[in-house]
């Protein structure tokens, strides 16, 4: 029996992250609390190394390996680099926050890195099995991260909810996958695609399988009506963990949608277009309307996430390469906006005080006009007001919808109208920061690196808005 040695070079970033994460885990065991910063630095080093490795692979043509269940392609490379950078930002933002709460432990970083590994596998998945592996690795890390603050009842409850609902979602996804496997006899997305193309799309079990897969994906994305976990988990988890959950995993979720629905089952697009349209419209409506009623900013951002998921789906609904690029651009921009907004909550929090209600932002302009301006940029970007980059993200998906083969002008109009509803709660936060009197005059004194990165994050909203061309053409070129 001859065993082909798989092409390990393909998975070099994954192998590197895995090795380093194990090393972090072990080294952390031997560190005293005062030296915990070493764990943090190692985690950042891991991400830096991963960026370098993935960057060195950019440009080479896409290749599959591990019997076709793993793919390295330009889209994956870009998504992975964003995942590393976003996660590194998350780690940086949460460092002082964790330290102030006596939570500066190695587990946060180790689990975070395992989550990154899960996301990388999702991004590179080329068969249903790999998708599932990556997804579970990410989900399990997330469940435990939510539960990290074990003395807090809210966090424990959130973790429990997340685990139960996440398990149901995984079950749905797996069930759908098994049906597709039953029909097509393969788990590989390309072979599934080829089978559907050859044998036609009118197969009831295929449709059922698709429904279950879409439900599973919608659960993971947090699209309405499978969104119930999102606000509770965002709210219940510590801000450092919410920061993590709310950002990079959305990029990975976009990747598996691309792999499963587009690479695997594009032939069924008329079916999944309808399903996603329902999800998108509901997400836009519920997300934007319910967000208005929130007083807790983490819950508000949770509902805002739901509405952004609606927008993200619009690009995919168009079922055109241009639309997929638009969605990719949207998810990358969203991750940047989201990490900045949660970062601002962390910036305003201090030991024994969580700045997680809207009132905690009162009069921020009087306390620090610079940070108020950064938050202003982030909020206007979320609302999609030019000249911030959020506008171009929305512009592109709307263009994709209008460009779709079937006439979906109504969908574009629905989307822009709900974005007006959404603008209300973003500008309400601006109002709170600029027009209200501060209740709390304590100075905001972040460390230098936090200060620099959060400023860069805010400025990036404007810079990418003034010059979005480069990132747009990257998104365009990696999806043909």
């Amino acid at each position: 029996m001859i065993i082909d040695m798989p092409n390990l070079e393909l998975a070099l970033p994954e192998i590197f992250v895995l090795g380093m994460t194990c090393a972090v885990l072990i080294i952390d065991l031997f560190l005293k609390d005062k030296n915990r910063i070493i764990t943090y630095l190692l985690a950042q080093l891991t991400l830096l190394g991963a960026v370098l490795i993935t960057y060195s692979q950019i440009g080479s043509p896409s290749t599959t390996g591990f019997s076709g269940s793993f793919i390295r392609d330009p889209m994956g490379d870009i998504l992975k680099i964003f995942i590393y950078v976003i996660t590194a930002t998350v780690f940086l933002y949460s460092r002082d926050y964790l330290r102030a709460r006596g939570q500066f432990k190695g587990e946060y970083y180790a689990l975070g890195l395992f989550g990154v590994l899960g996301m990388m596998i999702m991004v590179s998945a080329h068969s249903f099995l790999t998708v599932y592996l990556g997804l579970e690795l990410l989900s399990l890390s997330l469940y435990s991260m939510v539960a990290l603050n074990r003395d807090s009842e809210v966090s424990t409850e959130a973790a429990m909810k997340y685990f139960v609902l996440g398990a149901i979602a995984s079950g749905m996804l797996l069930y759908g996958m098994s049906m597709i496997y039953g029909i097509t006899g393969s788990l590989n997305v390309v072979e599934i695609g080829a089978y559907i193309n050859k044998n036609g799309t009118s197969n009831i079990i295929l449709d059922f399988g698709l429904v279950f897969i879409v439900v599973g994906l919608a659960f993971k994305l947090g699209a309405v009506p499978f969104h119930m976990w999102v606000p509770d988990i965002y709210h219940g988890a510590q801000t450092s963990v919410t920061l993590y959950i709310g950002t990079a995993p959305k990029i990975a979720a976009f990747a598996i949608i691309m792999r499963i629905l587009v690479d695997g089952m594009e032939a069924l697009h008329t079916d999944w277009q309808q399903m996603l349209t329902i999800l998108a419209v509901l997400s836009l409506a519920i997300g934007n309307i319910v967000a208005i009623a929130q007083t807790n900013i983490k819950r508000m951002l949770a509902y805002s996430t739901i509405s952004h998921v609606g927008f993200l789906l619009l690009g995919i609904i168009s079922a055109r390469p241009d639309g997929y690029s638009a969605s990719m651009f949207y998810v990358l921009v969203y991750a940047l906006m989201s990490v900045g907004s949660f970062g601002m909550i962390i910036l305003l929090s201090r030991s024994g005080f969580e700045a997680d209600t809207l009132d905690d932002f009162k009069g921020l302009n009087e306390r620090s006009k610079w940070y108020a301006f950064m938050m202003l940029l982030l909020m206007f970007s979320m609302a999609g007001v030019p000249p911030t980059v959020g506008f171009f993200a929305k512009l592109w998906v709307i263009e994709a919808v209008l460009n779709a083969d079937t006439d979906m002008t109504w969908l574009a109009i629905t989307a822009v109208l709900f974005s007006v509803v959404g603008a209300f709660y973003y500008i309400r936060l601006v109002k709170i920061m600029y027009f209200d009197k501060p209740e709390d005059d304590s100075a905001i004194t972040p460390d230098v690196d936090l200060k620099v990165v959060i400023s860069a994050n805010g400025i990036l909203m404007l810079a990418l808005g003034v010059y979005p061309g480069a990132l747009m053409s990257i998104c365009q070129s990696v999806i043909q």
Binding site: V385, P386, E399, A412, F435
Partner: protein, 502 residues
């Protein structure tokens, strides 16, 4: 080599960068730097007039750079006879706003000045953008500084007013965005506005696009029945905010009709011109009566602005019935030019009226008409100016307010007697609400001790008022320079709209 500079880009970016410098310089030096920047911008805008070629309708001072290549979005600028006067008006008004805030704004003057300077650049951008997305970016970006200006420096009910202002205009413009993207898809991915002008469209398409534009521009103008944000915004805004709102922002709506609605959807405009005419007449007549009933000076001027802008839109959309009736472009051109002159003149007059109210408000901290009376006794110079501007607002011959109204009324006779009749009621209503306010505020016995203690205008206020008064008088006696630059552009536009695009 000053004259090699791309003049429009310079005009857009000088105030924006100046605004950022003001922010960085801090509160102490904010006023002086802002004044320098605004005067510099105005000086730089003068070549637009002196080097403007009045014989052509083509876009002048053109600039074209690729901005987002993958999307075919360009940084394309240019002005014609419609936008050029509006740009100069913007630069002129900003100087007045900076001057008017000199001692009055005590709270964060650096942010206040910076917001106005940045807004100046953005508004010039709106008037000079020839790429639809560039236009939209400027159009929306304008909302952010205005939102902050009303919200931070406004009156007691400012939060309600500013959020209403923001959401109203945002709602209006998103549909326009959909229309613009639709047009670009029809135009094979190009976002050039001039390209949209020549794009053939079916009547159904045109009507939908026209409707989307109408929502955006009608909110901005604002036209009845979507005008309700304006009185709130005006009342709560600080003086400078009201001035910019009335003098420039409202004009952007009117400009939108000329740059987008008429040339892109001429057939739909011709089909639906009755709707705009109706809305304009309601604005002139009904809003005129509403203005009569106001107790608050700023609210009164706000309603008077709506009525006056009704004249501008009336002038723009009368053209179809005039061409039908007389078949002459010349006749139609008179109405459209009248509308344009009305816009410019209203820019001066409304700015002056709001600044006048600001002068009183700074002293008395009330805008209620009933709190005043006999101001002329203690502030004679101010009273003289106010009476002059009120006369101009009522359309007295010899002031710029007369020219536009007269041209539009004259022209509406060629369209329909009853339109002319209703439009002409403004001469009575306008005089009634403005002069009645003047009577109650300025004349009569000194009403109370507060009025008795009033001090007349200082030199700074005098300069502002004098500048505006000379502009109003100049264009009232000699509107030639203004109509001259518009002439070829208006004629070209009329020829363009009279050809069907179906």
């Amino acid at each position: 080599m000053l004259f090699d500079l791309p003049i429009l880009s310079t005009l857009i970016w000088t105030p924006i960068i100046g605004g950022l410098i003001v922010l960085a310089a801090g509160e102490k030096r904010a006023r002086l730097i802002s004044l320098i920047v605004s005067v510099l911008t105005f000086i730089l805008s003068i070549p637009l007039y002196t080097k403007f070629d009045t014989s052509t309708a083509a876009m002048q001072f053109p600039e074209l750079h690729s901005w987002i290549p993958s999307f075919n979005i360009n940084y394309q600028l240019g002005v014609d006879g419609i936008s050029m006067p509006l740009i100069i008006l913007t630069a002129f008004t900003t100087i007045l706003v900076v001057l008017s805030a000199w001692e009055v704004i005590k709270k964060k003057p650096d942010q206040y000045m910076a917001a106005f300077l940045i807004m100046e650049g953005v508004m010039i951008g709106v008037f000079s953008a020839l790429d639809a997305i560039l236009f939209y970016v400027f159009w929306e970006a304008m909302l952010i500084p205005m939102f902050l200006i009303i919200g931070v420096w406004g009156g007691p009910n400012r939060v309600y007013a500013t959020i209403k202002f923001f959401l109203y205009t945002f709602l209006g413009s998103v549909l326009m965005l959909v229309a613009l993207i639709y047009l670009s898809i029809r135009a094979d991915g190009s976002f050039s506005i001039l390209g949209f002008h020549t794009l053939p469209l079916s009547l159904t398409e045109q009507i939908f696009i026209f409707a989307a534009f109408l929502v955006a521009f009608a909110v901005k103008v604002p036209m009845w029945p979507v005008h309700t944000w304006l009185p709130d915004a005006h009342v709560e805004a600080p003086t400078g905010g009201s001035v910019i709102l009335a003098a420039i922002m409202l004009k952007i709506g009117g400009y939108g009709f000329l740059r987008f609605s008429l040339p892109i959807t001429p057939d739909a405009s011709s089909e639906l011109d009755w709707l705009i005419i109706l809305m304009s007449l309601v604005a002139v007549v009904y809003i005129g009566f509403v203005a009569l009933a106001q107790e608050d000076m700023k609210k009164l001027i706000a309603y008077s602005s709506i009525a006056h802008m009704g004249f501008a839109t009336l002038g723009f959309f009368l053209v179809f019935s005039i061409i039908d009736n007389t078949g002459s472009w010349r006749d139609a051109a008179l109405g459209m030019e009248g509308g344009l002159v009305q816009m410019i003149s209203h820019g001066f007059i409304s700015a002056a009226m709001f600044l006048g109210v600001g002068v009183l408000y700074d002293r008395m901290h009330t805008r209620n008409i009933s709190d005043y009376g006999g101001v002329a006794n203690t502030m004679p110079v101010f009273a003289a100016f106010m009476v002059f501007f009120s006369m101009a607002n009522a359309g007295l011959p010899g002031t710029s307010g007369f020219v536009g109204e007269f041209m539009v009324i004259l022209d509406s006779f060629k369209a329909n007697f009853w339109i002319a009749f209703l439009a002409a009621t403004t001469l009575i209503l306008g005089a009634a609400y403005t002069l009645w306010m003047v009577k109650r505020v300025l004349y009569g016995e000194v009403a109370n001790d507060n009025v008795a203690k009033l001090k007349d205008m200082n030199a700074r206020e005098f300069v502002i008022m004098a500048l505006l008064a000379s502009a109003v008088l100049f264009f009232g006696l000699y509107p030639g320079p203004l109509t001259e630059v518009m002439h070829s552009t208006v004629e070209h536009l009329l020829q363009h709209v009279s050809v069907s695009k179906i």
